[in-house]
Symmetry: D2
Subunit: 347 residues, 4 copies
């Protein structure tokens, strides 16, 4: 028996990725597509300007889109909703869905709330324990479970095996982020052709704070933040999909590039769980000019972080490059993997 | 009376920038255009596939290109040559020209030789003193005077006022470099459209070593390298002109962003010399999303470094963005400004 | 004494080009910058997100932007307004301004009205005669004078000397248009990176109908449309500025490529009028791979159409390429040149 | 039993597509990878800088690349070679291979020879009859069978159903071609970023002449060329893969857009043959802004021509847009489909 799920914000760029991942999913049955009033009543095919080159899955084309209303009868039988809502709408609507459903959310609205888990399955599965506290606090039968900001996911997956083996002191990260991260209309072509925009609103703050929560420990019923330091500089470049990050790491105990490489290669905590969206979390490229967004972003169907150029650093211990498909591993895929893990192990 | 000059490698991308800057120069008279055997004998208009959108200066169109031969009679009356030769040719040919001429070179071949000045006029004018030592060592009447690698110039101009006022301990720099930096055929479009190439051969090494020479002191007849540390990660992005650098700085004495900004604003050692290619070395933008390559690269006719987003750093003292027109300030313009300063003050 | 002018829609992409062209104009004094209510009351520097790489002219930075209200007292002394309004606003507001001012409009709203001149100065200056008829019809002291759609201007300037010398029967045109033609937010980067959008709303219709009016004759107090046929196919490509058109022409009398080239070269009806925005209307490139948008769009400060590859056609007489800077010659510059000609010859 | 095949020029861009299509092919067993002397002796993984985002097939990674020598013993058992050789090498080497093998060639060298079939399987299968004549003429046991130039294939597939149903008189075509068509190093990024190059060497000639051969009839032991006229204008745009063509057609009998659409929809001569690389030859999109290269180029695994905007023309009968994946349907896929059809029906 599949679990019935819905998607909130189903017509946008991340919403479409959700639909793509859930359309023929072995654990989930996609029952409800919700979007703004403008789309309500239309078939998904009519309502949605499908942006993905892979083509719209046949099974969703004729589904009728409904308004994102937590009280709509179409949601009655749904157990899980995936949220691709913009932050302000998420803030208002997700709690209502959470009264009786699990909300796996890509929105930033509740990520940093003390009782809301901010999960990367391979990194901090133990934070799911916040769900009980959240339910106590908020008198919900459901819960909000968030995934981090796209750039943060990429960074934290690579930091986790380093932290576990050598400890972390300081991390610099300089990003080169794809335009899809801002949504379909987010970056006008006039702004980015032959150009870089060296500023993404709140992105540096998200990387610098979310990382410490994610890599923190669940203790005494709360998450104790990790105590290393992160400094980020974030930039938008003329690339469609794929965030690339230059990362410089100082460990507590010292580590050589070969050691870092070894612990990254071995890092694979979900490998025996048979989760549908699973891919090896870190894939290491040996070529001196990789990872490259266009060539490597689809590694592991877009779910693997591709790491390259792990090398000795003159100031810290190591520096390396990490690449993530930002709308799959960095958004919709992140939520779906969260849900798969939770359902498999805790439901 | 203008000084007679020639350009070596006059038909390539940097060579064209030299020609553009020198064609109607108030101090220099462009007498000789030298290139490979293939171009020799043709008019510059015929020999050169002019890449610059500004159009070829009228005065050079009908000049006859000669082969890059130090013994050619056309060079007899020439006092200065500007070299845009590739590194291997520079290695072989520049010493022959230096026997009786000043060679202002953009090539990397001799930059790190102990008796060769590696100059940024605003930063280390005192290193011109190496010329006498070089002449003694090599029995030349001329000399080789080099300018740094493009990315290094951008970095060092911004570091100089920081070092002078607060001292320097450590510097991380992550670059987003334009395709023109690799020469016209250097980056195939198949490699860079919708992509980033996170590797530029020897670029990180150049930034990490050249910077220490440039910011070093001339003492006891040699350059004593600066003793802070630089770590670079270099990346090619789909931008035509303009290298953008994310820079993180730890000073010796500690400094607030406002203080850094103030010393950068004031930094202007050449301002009273009336050099033709002079522009204010650092221009600071206040907007939160600048500098941007397409909008800001031509600031100061391509000779100003444009700095933005000077902000407090969580690990070091400050972080900021710096932009440079890589084929003007980062290459041909750098050599020409070196020559202007040297001629004005020392000839 | 300069004529006092204002710009409607001054903060948009075409509005900025108007400001750039008018800021230090020898015939016009720029007195009023009008925009939407949101910008009203701010200085132009505050209200305007300046997109052009040339930098905002000093003289306009501190001008106060007003709301686009025909009754505003600031317009009282203004004799000419240049309109960069969107079509719906132009429809409503331009007639009010035309009651007592000359409105030189880039908007499409009134272009095809029978009594409104649709002018390219080099092509159909005689259509200014419609102004008297317009004033009679509409009881205005001012008038609306329009310039054509960007792609149409490029086409018609090249067709005019052909028509005058050899007659015209049929014209196919296939365009490759820059993203700036859609305004700053018109084309999302997600839509155009590594892509072409083979559709521009109403563009083909505009090219096919406006051309016949422009190349028509003023007779018996109206414009008799030209009787050749135009078929257009319009496409958006990842280029910032510069529309490129592949044009195939069948003349009435037959013509060889050399003859076409000769009449285009000679075509220069405004050359003795000393108009400030004048440039040679057609510049012919001999290289086999020109015109190219990035290299050639600024020819004649963006006011020249650059033509290349004039060659024999297997079906019609000739085919060639024509390039236009779409926001200068194809928009703001077109209006300004209209105004300069009208003021010089008819006021 | 699979037929043993080899690929000539296996490391280039088209060569890689051949390898991708043939690596796990149900009819062919890929036995030999041949390339230049530089690659000989290396494994394919070492020799080949793999450009395709899909990743190199496992089965070829450790194959040893040999020099392209028709006498090499590795070719002894091979029955078919697929040629991605450059034209000059093809001219020299293909005849030697053709002495005892079938050479399915993407090179232009022999396309227009009287006794060489120039085949698009859906269009002119009857031209395979030239093979017997070629063998008689040249005393070969094998044969050279060519596929057309990339842009020509796209055009001719769409013209075939029109010609068969309504006759053809005249065709204009204006192309917007991807950079991959020129090979990996063919188009420098400095030439194409923010730009169009309105010239592709010999491309217009190929489209104008090859089309007439392909759409000609095999009669009296030779191909009688079709007698309509084609005029092409060819342009390179900043797109990675996917040639887009704006096509204007005058039929002999007249045809409405709806009729054209209907005959294109029905056109599917290979559908019952169960060829491995088969896809529906023409897929029609109804949206007003399609086909788009990035979204539609992979239709039918890159083997379908995607047609859109079939509309009435003001001069001819109809105009429409057609898109082709230029390195699959326009190159390697074209050759492979030729071979599949030939083997299935004639061997």
């Amino acid at each position: 028996m599949k679990i019935k799920v819905g998607v909130l914000g189903a017509t946008g760029l991340v919403g479409q990725r959700f639909v793509q991942l859930l359309a023929d999913h072995p654990m989930f049955s996609l029952e409800v597509l919700a979007a703004s009033e403008r789309s309500a009543g239309k078939t998904y095919k009519e309502a949605c300007n499908w942006y993905l080159s892979e083509g719209m899955p046949e099974s969703v084309k004729d589904m009728t889109v409904i308004k994102t209303d937590p009280k709509a009868k179409e949601f009655e039988d749904v157990d899980i909703v995936f949220s691709a809502l913009p932050s302000d709408l998420a803030k208002e609507l997700e709690p209502k869905f959470a009264e009786d459903k699990l909300v796996f959310s890509n929105a930033s609205a509740y990520r940093m709330e003390e009782d809301v888990p901010l999960i990367i399955p391979e990194v901090n599965e133990d934070h799911f324990a916040l769900i009980d506290i959240q339910r106590d606090n908020r008198k919900w039968d459901g819960a909000i479970i968030t995934n981090p900001n796209c750039s943060t996911i990429c960074l934290c997956i690579t930091l986790k095996p380093i932290m576990d083996n050598f400890g972390l002191e300081s991390v610099f990260v300089s990003t080169m982020q794809a335009v899809s991260g801002a949504g379909y209309n987010g970056v006008p072509s006039m702004g980015i052709l032959d150009n870089i925009i060296p500023y993404i609103k709140k992105e540096e703050e998200k990387m610098e704070t979310e990382s410490l929560k994610i890599l923190g420990k669940f203790e005494d019923n709360k998450v104790k933040f990790a105590d290393f330091k992160v400094s980020a500089s974030c930039h938008r470049v003329p690339v469609i999909d794929g965030h690339l990050e230059a990362i410089f790491v100082k460990t507590s105990e010292g580590a050589e590039p070969e050691e870092i490489k070894e612990v990254m290669e071995k890092f694979d905590p979900l490998k025996d769980l048979d989760l549908p969206t699973y891919a090896k979390p870190i894939v290491i490229k040996e070529e001196e000019d990789r990872p490259q967004p266009r060539l490597d972003r689809n590694t592991g169907k877009g779910m693997s972080i591709v790491v390259g150029r792990i090398r000795k650093d003159k100031i810290f211990d190591v520096k390396y490059l990490a690449l993530e498909h930002n709308t799959i591993r960095g958004a919709a895929g992140a939520s779906v993997l969260n849900a798969e893990l939770y359902v498999k192990k805790y439901l």
